[in-house]
């Protein structure tokens, strides 16, 4: 829709116009070339992965510390994240869809989401790994699958919830339009539900993938009793390098990490965000948009377009026709009076009974495991729970103490924001688990124990949530409110009490909720760490979970995990949710 002014085209002579034509014609060819190159690269990637998965039968993987091995390691890690993400996406859409449309399962599935989101995923690590190693023919594939499954469980729930709540909030008239115009389930999904949910899914995907890196770094190399599972990747590279105190290798590893994150942002998220702009459910066109050359390439490639014309278009035509015919048949049937229902009620009853039996059998045995826990151990767990509770809250307070002033300063000063925000974003996107070994090394050098060190480690991963939310909150405070404060010469204390703190309150709470969940999860790694063949640990629930994992004491692992999940859920219900509600009613700044 860009229209050049008349004078512009007048100045440009005919010859330049002709040259422009050539460029115009040759562009799609260039685009196709790029697409082809990307396609080839993908193919090569698949070959490499396959070779590694099926070729490595030797049990002991040695992690090289040479920087030259890094590209391949980074590639392996990226593939793991990518696979886990795709799995999560498909599962999340399925789960959300089922929860939204199945009235009987809805309440159960949503309660399930709530709990699954609060369970510390890392405590599943040992169980999942062992099961996968047992399931798959070669051990390497088992560990690989275990890692992917674990990342999956870490990133799927918020996406599922996002999709579910998007479906639930589809405007009534839009949904009625789809009904009155006889959309089939497929057409509804493609033209209404997925587009409507797209933006929420994209943002949650970004959060999920960042979380995925956190878990991947932790599970690429871990010890279970006498067994030592390792996967070639960035996480194991960093851990090995830290273990041997190889500073150069650590620097290279961190550099690789940061470049991957910057590249993901530039080449994946930016194009996707730019593309998802068209799914914004707004009535006016927004001015500021994110642009992406890569998106331009994909959208304007003739090769991709004709590929679509040859594959998806005929397929969707057939499907749509089939659905339309089915509907006609159904109507003919129901009007002629025959009411044959597919799927007998008996089958459904049988499946439900079977599900109940299996679940209760497993639950019963798990509880049986708990009988082996001695009272002294139980007391230890409670003591650990208290210690970790204190540690989590101290880390939250410390994080809030520096992020609130910093965030408000950044939010109020656009010039500062322009410099500080990108830096903070990059710093935040480096998974804390990748830095753990490095920081621990430094801590040991200066002689600090893990008791304090673990607080630092928890903060490392969680402070960013608070910072970004505070920045957003400070930016959202209307400037006239701030001007009033200046006009009436409020003292600094008064300004903070009447304008700033109430203004950022809802955002602060959002940040703290996320940070609190993250800190609990991080405690599992932060309170117990193996470095240079020695184990550092401190009193805490996380340490007990990790220690039980190391020694294979599954009853303690189970109990500790349950205690932790219970604590997280309880704190959410008793503290965060009421605060959230308060934020939504009293401290809402309506524009």
């Amino acid at each position: 829709m860009i229209q050049l002014p008349d004078s512009f085209s007048y100045i440009r002579g005919r010859e330049t116009l002709a040259r422009a034509q050539v460029l115009k014609r040759s562009w799609p060819f260039m685009l196709d070339l790029c697409v082809a190159a990307i396609g080839l690269a993908c193919f090569y990637g698949v070959v490499v992965i396959a070779k590694y998965w099926f070729g490595h039968s030797e049990p002991e993987i040695v992690i090289s510390q040479s920087p030259r091995a890094l590209p391949l390691y980074a590639f392996y890690s990226v593939v793991r994240i990518g696979l886990a993400y795709l799995l999560s996406l498909v599962f999340a859409v399925g789960y959300g869809y089922l929860a939204a449309y199945n009235k009987r399962l809805e309440a159960l599935m949503i309660a399930g989401l709530d709990i699954l989101q609060s369970i510390p995923v890392l405590s599943f690590l040992p169980g999942v790994m062992l099961a996968m190693v047992a399931l798959f023919p070669t051990r390497q594939i088992g560990v690989e699958m275990g890692a992917i499954l674990l990342i999956f469980t870490g990133q799927v729930w918020n996406m599922a919830f996002s999709f579910y709540s998007s479906i639930k909030s589809i405007p009534r008239e839009l949904s009625e339009a789809a009904n009155i115009y006889r959309f089939s389930r497929l057409q509804r999904l493609v033209q209404l539900e997925l587009p409507y949910a797209a933006i929420g899914l994209v943002w949650n995907s970004m959060v999920s993938v960042a979380g995925g890196w956190f878990f991947l770094m932790a599970c690429e190399m871990f010890v279970l009793g006498p067994r030592d599972f390792r996967l070639p990747g960035l996480g194991s590279y960093l851990q090995t390098a830290a273990g041997t105190g190889n500073g150069v290798a650590i620097a290279w590893g961190l550099l690789a990490m940061v470049s991957i994150i910057v590249a993901t942002d530039q080449f994946i998220w930016r194009p996707i965000i730019a593309w998802s702009d068209k799914f914004k459910f707004e009535q006016v066109e927004s001015k500021a948009r994110i642009k992406s050359p890569l998106l331009h390439l994909v959208q304007n490639s003739t090769a991709l377009r004709s590929l679509g014309r040859l594959t998806t278009a005929p397929l969707s035509e057939t499907l749509y026709r089939r659905y339309a015919q089915e509907r006609q048949q159904r109507l003919a049937q129901s009007s002629s009076g025959s009411t044959s229902r597919p799927g007998s009620p008996w089958l459904r009853v049988l499946i439900s009974v079977l599900a109940v039996v299996v679940v209760s059998y497993a639950a019963f045995h798990a509880l049986g495991l708990l009988r082996e826990v001695r009272f002294a151990q139980f007391k230890e767990i409670l003591k650990g729970a208290l210690a970790t509770f204190l540690r989590v809250n101290v880390s939250l307070l410390l994080a809030a103490a520096w992020t609130i002033p910093a965030g408000v300063a950044i939010g109020f000063h656009p010039r500062l924001a322009r410099i500080a925000q990108p830096i903070a974003q990059i710093a935040a996107s480096v998974p804390a688990t990748a830095l753990f070994p490095v920081i621990l090394l430094a801590l040991i050098r200066v002689g600090g124990g893990l008791g304090i060190g673990s607080i630092a480690l928890m903060m490392l991963g969680t402070q960013w949530y608070i910072l970004f939310n505070v920045i957003a909150g400070a930016m959202a405070i209307p400037s006239d409110l701030r001007e009033v404060a200046t006009l009436f010469r409020f003292t600094t204390v008064q300004r903070w009490k009447t304008v700033i703190l109430p203004g950022i309150f809802p955002f602060l709470i959002t940040g703290m909720v996320t940070a609190s969940g993250g800190a609990w999860n991080a405690s599992i790694i932060a309170e117990y760490f193996r470095l240079k063949n020695q184990t550092l640990q401190t009193v805490g629930l996380g340490a007990q979970i990790s220690a039980a994992t190391d020694s294979g004491q599954f009853q303690i692992l189970l109990l500790a995990t349950m205690v932790m999940a219970l604590m997280v859920v309880t704190i959410n219900r008793l503290v965060w949710r009421p605060l959230y509600r308060l934020a939504g009613t009293r401290y809402k700044l309506e524009g």
Binding site: P171, E176, A177, Y181, R182, K280, Y320, Q325
Partner: protein
């Protein structure tokens, strides 16, 4: 006799409440749509117009009764209807072309045929050249044209419209209305009947061959009559304005009142607790009521509501709640579509703010059961506060959840203005107003002194 296309037989609609009550939104109603007619359904907002429309299209099943499509139960019939929505209900991520094409795709039509039909209908409604545009690039009027194109592309037998022009500005709406009428009269579109839901009286009289007026609580047909005016209709013609005036009268006639209750010697009414029913509080602001009363005074204390609406450039939906509220408070009487100010009404309009509040307070406590109950409940409690929930539960037995919330909001609004009580929004509790508290304290101090 003509063959009816859609026939509703004693349809009713209930909505379940969270508190397990059921609220009746539509009481048993018969209605039929025959070929060759534009039917307009008029009624105040919340009277159940949209609910009725959705039952007639088969989108929502009636709680009781049956809807027939060519004498076949609608749930199992091959219904061919379209709806034009107030909010347009376009898919923002699809282009104009894709939006209009989508219903044809759903019917499994071949791509070539689909394309042909889509282009033709876009041409008909004046959208050629906009195929590749996204809805958000268009103005409101153009968007509703897309809504019409999407509705007409499937060649519906009955075209339903739920306040299609409400979201548009006056001129755009006028333009679209006349274009639609032209398509219909020249039979450019094969549509057999049009069913239009509106709260704009002039729009109904301008377009419809038949007008149905809906009353509320629960929704029921007040009148149903044919309009014999020739097209094109002239808004200034006497026959036209008379019809508009008549509909205003129907809409403003107070619903039948229960018979007067016996009076006790003191002159206070005795109330049977079981018969106590909350009036529906009209959602008007005290400021609006004062404004209306001043206007009526300017019109020498009495005038046609129709003319008042015209003077204010108000639609009936904006004006009716204010008239109702003034009537409820005894500031205004309405007979035959004429509003006349009462003595208290005149005093209210002429007073300064403190006196106004006083008058409002007296009128509110005398006439509004809910406000009276809130004040009593606060007085009865030792801590002088009552949770909102308490009244919510009582109103809930009579109103839908949405309406209950609105009733409470209005009551809070009126009560705060009249300084009958205050409301603590964070704790959701009614509390004694500071002013009342002062008066009581002063009073008891005086007693102690004496």
């Amino acid at each position: 006799m003509q063959t009816t296309i859609i026939r509703a037989e004693r349809v009713e609609k209930y909505y379940a409440q969270p508190s397990e009550n059921r609220i009746q939104v539509i009481s048993p109603t018969d209605l039929s749509i025959v070929p060759g007619e534009i039917v307009a359904l008029l009624g105040p907002s919340g009277s159940g117009k949209s609910t009725l429309l959705r039952m007639l299209t088969g989108l929502s099943a009636p709680s009781a009764g049956q809807v027939y499509w060519h004498e076949q139960p609608i749930a199992s019939a091959d219904v061919n209807v379209s709806i034009v929505f107030q909010s347009f209900a376009l898919f923002p991520w699809l282009t104009v072309f894709e939006n209009v094409e989508a219903p044809l795709k759903a019917r499994g039509m071949e791509p070539a045929e689909r394309r042909k039909r889509t282009i033709k209908i876009l041409d008909t409604v004046g959208l050629d050249g906009f195929q590749a545009a996204y809805p958000k690039e268009l103005s409101g009027g153009m968007r509703q044209r897309v809504g019409f194109a999407r509705a007409l592309v499937v060649e519906p037998e009955v075209l339903f419209m739920d306040e299609p022009f409400s979201a548009l500005d006056v001129l755009t709406a006028e333009n679209l209305r006349s274009e639609l009428l032209e398509l219909w009269q020249k039979k450019t579109i094969p549509t057999q009947a049009i069913f239009l839901v509106t709260h704009n009286i002039e729009e109904a009289v301008l377009l419809a061959d038949r007008i149905i007026v809906l009353g509320r609580n629960p929704g029921h047909v007040r009148t149903d009559f044919k309009v014999a005016l020739q097209h094109p209709r002239d808004r200034k013609a006497t026959a036209f304005t008379q019809l508009v005036d008549y509909i205003y009268k129907v809409l403003t006639q107070p619903d039948a009142q229960p018979p007067e209750l016996p009076q006790t010697p003191t002159g206070k009414r005795v109330r049977d607790q079981r018969q106590m029913h909350y009036q529906m509080l009209p959602h008007a602001r005290p400021g609006g009521i004062a404004g209306l009363l001043e206007l009526v005074l300017d019109h020498h204390g009495k005038d046609d509501i129709y003319r008042l609406a015209d003077d204010l450039a108000f639609e009936i939906d904006d004006l009716l709640p204010i008239v109702d509220a003034a009537q409820l408070l005894g500031f205004l009487t309405v007979t035959e579509g004429d509003a006349a100010i009462t003595a208290t009404g005149a005093e209210y309009a002429n007073s300064e703010i403190l006196r106004q509040k006083q008058l409002f307070r007296t009128a509110a406590v005398t006439n509004v059961l809910l406000l009276r109950q809130i004040v009593r409940a606060i007085e009865a409690k030792s801590d002088r506060t009552v949770p909102e929930e308490f009244f919510h539960d009582m109103l809930d037995e009579q109103f839908s959840e949405e309406e209950t919330l609105r009733q409470l909001e209005t009551a809070i609004n009126w009560g705060r203005y009249a300084e009958l009580f205050d409301f603590d929004a964070s704790r959701r509790r009614f509390i004694q107003s500071a002013k009342l508290q002062q008066e009581i304290d002063a009073h008891s101090n005086a007693e102690v002194d004496a």
